[in-house]
Every structure is written in structure tokens, then in C-alpha cells.
Amino acid sequence: MKTLGAIAVIITGALLLYASEDFPSWGDPHSPANQYRVSSHYVQNSFGETSVPNMVTAILADYRGYDTLFETVVIFTAGIAIIAILRGPIDKRVRLRLASERKMRETNLILAQTSRILVPVIQLFALYVIAHGHHSPGGGFQGGVIFGASLILLALSFQLQTALDRVSEKKAVTLAAIGILIYAGIGFVCLLAGGNFLDYSALQVLMPVGAIEARSHGILGVEIGVAFTVAAIMFAIYANLSSHGRMKGGL
């Protein structure tokens, strides 16, 4: 395998080096990628067309919102996939061993107190990141991961069960499905309101705002959907991977 790998690497590397000779130099504002009408249209008009100052959010959730829908679906798929792969019938021996493991693990006092204070702050910050994605870096995805991380922190500093008591695996999958439902549902409402799928400007018939503001609100709506899915699935993946799919024990 070593020689095969070396050959593949050398051939590919040589090809890529050969092509890189032809590239525009790094940081050139007039390279085709930076100058062509697609990119400059986004920079110049995204605020005017969606009223979102963060161009990345505007493109992510509106111009290329269909991509982001499937990005969310990818995360959801990964969650379901991991549950499907790791879940197996638990035989009797394992169940007995788990029962003996169940007696309370020693919880470190400093860890417990610190995370007791930290977790709500992290969650608040996550909500801020989700809601403030229009004006600053962040958005549904980043906020969702941070929210998921707060649950993971809870599971790490206490026990997996402590976190699962708050969000069980079934609840996590339900929340994740609801997240996609929010996203695709907003898109579908646009379709029913007379626009194309994910054309948020069609939402103006349902809201007392103009087409541009409707786009801005639509973006916020789908970001919330993304956050639901990502937060729930990040935690579900951690819970499954750390406990080998048994939802007991954990790290």
C-alpha cells in the first residue's frame, strides 16, 4: 500500500503543481474568481436585495439557500446514520455489566460547579450567535454547534445520563427533524404563497413587510431551523460515539 500511496501522491501532486503555475497570484483582487459578476454582484447588491449586512449569511441562506438546506440534511443524515450503525441488540451480559456501571460515578466538585455556571452562559451565547448572524459572523450553524457543545460539556463534567435526562436521544432526533421541517417548511410556504421553492420574498403576502424585509425574516427563520438540527445532532452524535450506541456510561 505504501508504494501505491506514494505513486498516487506523486502523480496527483505533480498535476496540481502543474496547474498552480497558471493560477492568478494569491490576493489578487482582479482574479477571475474575484472579479466575475457573481462575486461582485453579491458584494454590491446583497445588502440591497436582502437587507442583511453579513454577506456570507445572505448568500448562505438566500442566494444559495438550497445548498444550505441540504447541508442541514447532511448533518441530519449523519445523525441518523450513526444511530443506525451503532445501535445493536443489547444482549444480557452487556445489560448486567451496564447495571453495575450505573452506580454514581464520582463527580469532580470544581468541574461540576464551573460547568453549572458555564453552561447557561454558553447557551445564551449560542442563542446570541444564532440571532445575530445577520450582523456579525455566525448564524444557525455556528450557534447550533455551540449549543450542542454546551450539552456535551454537561455530559463530560457530570455523566452522559445527566445530559440525556435533559435531552434524550429520541428527543434529539425529533428536534433535528423539526429543524429540517422548519427550513423546508419555510421553503414550501414560499411555494404555496406563489413564489418558487425558498423564494422568501413570496412571504410578504403573509407578513406586514416588503419583499426585501421578507427575505431578511426568511433568512432568520431558516437559520433557526439549521440551529435546531445542528445542536440536536451534534449532541446525539457525541452521545452515541462516546457510549458505543448504548446511551450508558460515556466518557
Binding site: M1, K2, L4, G5, A6, A8, V9, T12, G13, L16, L17, S20, F23, S25, W26, G27, D28, P29, S31, A33, N34, Q35, V38, S39, S40, Y42, V43, Q44, S46, F47, G48, P53, N54, M55, V56, I59, L60, R64, D67, T68, E71, V74, I75, T77, A78, A81, I82, I85, L86, G88, H135, S136, P137, F141, I237, N240, L241, H244, G245
Partner: protein, 135 residues
């Protein structure tokens, strides 16, 4: 163009190729399954590095409008494309990062199941177990 300028204009592309080749080599030739997955992640992040590098503009700002600018834009001020980094590669790479972590998660779940079934995560040992009829 001086030598330094030439190097700076190419450096990112070279480094991304090196990183990508490190990842590709690990994916093909490492025997440990977790190592293969780490190699896979390096491979993917190298591609993300390439995309981000191609959106850089000399002397540009982050692609978020400041309050004063967006206010001026409402009054018909034109936003210059050269002032802001190209936001499109950033959007694409957000998606790619997510896909990367999803693939990594599924890969790790499969590794755990392999460990449960075969008791090892070294590829030659697994193949030996399958050969000997244990698989």
C-alpha cells in the same frame, strides 16, 4: 516581480498541495483506521484552504458591512467589490466543513462497529481475521 513576491503569490497554493498530499498518502497507506480518518480530514481541510485562499483580496475587509456603510448604501452609496473579501468561497466552505464533520462522524461510528466486531482497528489484522474464517 521579486523572488519574495513570487513566493508570496504562490505560497498558499503550494502549502495546500503539500497538506493535501499528506492527507491522501495517509488515506491510502496508513493501516490504522482512525489514522486513515485523520488523513481524510486533513485532505478535506486542505481543499477548504485552497478555496479560502482563492477568495482573498489584497487589502480587503471581512465581508460584513459596517453600520455606517450599510446606512450609506441605503442612500445610494455604491459598495466597491474590491473592498471586501470574496464571500462566495466562504459560503461554499461552510458547507464543506459541515460535510466533512458529518463524514468524519459516520466514519468514526463505523470504526467503533469494526472494533466491536473484530476486536481491532488495524487493517491487516482485520483482513487476517476474515481470511481465517472469523469474518
Amino acid at each position: 516581480m521579486t523572488v519574495t513576491e513570487f513566493i508570496v503569490s504562490r505560497l498558499n497554493y503550494w502549502i495546500y498541495i503539500i497538506l493535501m498530499m499528506i492527507g491522501l498518502f495517509a488515506m491510502i497507506s496508513k493501516k490504522n483506521l482512525i489514522k486513515k480518518l485523520i488523513g481524510m480530514s486533513i485532505f478535506q481541510t486542505a481543499i477548504i484552504l485552497f478555496y479560502v485562499s482563492l477568495g482573498v483580496k489584497e487589502g480587503s475587509n471581512i465581508p460584513i458591512l459596517e453600520h455606517s456603510v450599510s446606512h450609506a448604501a441605503e442612500h445610494g452609496e455604491i459598495i466597491r467589490a474590491e473592498d471586501y473579501a470574496n464571500p462566495l468561497p466562504h459560503v461554499l466552505m461552510l458547507t464543506a466543513i459541515v460535510v466533512g464533520v458529518a463524514t468524519l462522524g459516520v466514519g468514526l461510528a463505523i470504526v467503533q462497529k469494526i472494533h466491536k466486531e473484530f476486536g481491532t482497528i488495524e487493517e491487516p489484522e482485520i483482513l487476517a481475521k476474515i481470511e481465517s474464517g472469523d469474518g
